[in-house]
Every structure is written in C-alpha cells, then in structure tokens.
C-alpha cells in the first residue's frame, strides 16, 4: 500500500463521511464533491485515466451541480426542527456496519483466490473509442436512449404543472 493510496483513500472516505454526517445540506453536497474527486484520483492511480476524467466530468460537473440545484429548489437550506437524523438511526448504523462486516469478510476470505495481474495494460483512448463503437456499440446506443429518456423524464417530472384553464 503506497502512501498515495492511503492519502487518497482517507480523503475519499472523509469526504463520504462528512457528506452523511454534516447538518447543512450544502455542506454535504460539497463534501460529496470532495469524495468524488478523491475517487477520480483513485481511478487515475489505477491507470484508468479515461474513467477518472469521465468521473470528474460527470459526477463533479453534473451530479454534484444537480444536487446543489435540488437542495436549492427544496429549501434544503432550512434545517428541520426535529433533527437531521431519523429516530431509528442506530438501527440504520447497525445495518450499515453489518453490511461492511459482511463485505469485508468476503473480501478478506477470498483474497487468496483472486489471481492478481500487475502488468500495466496499454490502454489508449483510441482503444476505448474502438471498443465503444465496436464491441460495445449496442450498450452505447441503449445508453443514449436511456440518457434521452432520463432527461425527458426528469424534465417532465420536475416541471411545474400547467394551470388548467377553466
């Protein structure tokens, strides 16, 4: 484990933790942006440059902004009266801990079975582009459809209802 890795991991995790623990929604949104950034850097460390930059573009560039907009539109800046955590927060915590325990145990128990490849593959954007329109053209097209449908759906769902004329 290289120190870079620990740093990046710490940043990401801190960002995530901060996102769920902070009271102000806007602070949470900013924290999650940090988490996204940390993840992007982790991708870069994993030699998945395209994925990393796509992460920055999409997540930080779009999703985070969306979140901020949503906070804006739902008056998220007003703090609720009863507190930000639900009444049964302990149970939720417990469940999350249980999930982590299981996943961690699964990982650690099966580490030896995973063959590890250390050689760096030569992955160029050219290869990715070839793959996209070659082998993965169908998923690409469907993804395009999906994105279209999602956009249209989001617009319709969030639109103001037209006032019906009497």
């Amino acid at each position: 484990m290289t120190p870079i890795f620990y740093l990046l991991a710490a940043v990401t995790l801190a960002g995530g933790l901060a996102a769920v623990l902070l009271k102000h929604l806007v602070h949470s949104a900013l924290a999650v942006t940090v988490a996204f950034a940390g993840l992007a850097l982790l991708f870069l460390q994993l030699d998945a440059q395209f994925a990393g930059f796509a992460q920055i573009l999409v997540y930080i560039g779009a999703v985070a902004i969306l979140i901020v907009f949503a906070i804006l539109l739902t008056r998220g800046s007003d703090l609720p009266k009863d507190g930000v955590f639900s009444k049964t927060w302990f149970l939720g915590l417990l469940i999350a801990a249980a999930v982590f325990a299981v996943l961690g145990w699964a990982v650690l128990a099966s580490v030896s079975a995973i063959p590890q490849q250390n050689t760096l593959p030569s992955v160029t954007v050219h290869d990715i582009g070839n793959a996209l329109v070659g082998r993965y053209v169908l998923p690409l097209e469907i993804l395009a459809l999906l994105l279209t449908a999602a956009t249209i759906g989001a617009v319709i769902v969030a639109m103001h209802e037209k006032v019906r004329s009497r």
């Binding site: 992460q55 999409v58 979140i67 955590f85 990982v107 992955v123």
Partner: protein, 104 residues
C-alpha cells in the same frame, strides 16, 4: 510495492457502507440520494480495481462497465432529483419520514 487489490476492495466496501449508512440514517431525501451516489461510486471503484488487477485487462471489460456505470448514474441522479423536486412541490416537504402515502 503496488497496492494490493484487497485494499481497493476494502476502501470500496467502506465507502459503500458509509453510503448505505447515510441513506438509512438521514431524514432528508436528497441526502439519501447522495448516499446512493456514494454507493454507486463504491461499486465503480470495485469494477475499475477488478479490471486493473483481473485477467485480460486488454479486453477493457471492466473499464467499459465502469464508464457505462458512470453515465447511468448520472441519468439516475437526474431523474431521482427531479422526483424529489416533484414530491417537494406536492407535499411541501423533503423529509422521508413524512412521505408515507404508500403506507399499508
């Protein structure tokens, strides 16, 4: 020494757990969505890590999977947040405790 796969996987697992905890514990709908994004990201990390350290990285399978996942996550975030706004308009609240019309 390069970081072993297990490390990445553990970080992903922890991030996943954090995301899940956030989704379960917080009352605001947007924070639940933030938690879900974190979970998705943890899954992406898993994918990319497996691509890097798994067999045949030149097949680009994991990388493609991850990219597509990012794209879909974006779509899903858009729709989800649109829904939250719509619900806010109807019930004038974004707190999930209060939205239980599907009760019973």
């Amino acid at each position: 020494m390069t970081t072993p796969l297990a490390g990445y996987l553990l970080v992903a697992a922890l991030l996943f757990a954090i995301g899940l905890g956030g989704a379960l514990v917080r009352r605001n709908a947007i924070l639940v969505l933030i938690g879900i994004e974190l979970m998705l990201n943890a899954a992406n990390l898993n994918l990319i890590a497996f691509w890097r350290y798994g067999p045949h990285p030149e097949a680009l399978t994991g990388l493609m999977f991850g990219i597509f996942s990012i794209a879909i996550a974006a779509a899903e975030a858009a729709v989800g947040l649109g829904l939250v706004i719509a619900i806010y308009r109807h019930t004038n609240t974004a707190e999930l405790d209060k939205i239980d019309r599907m009760k019973g």
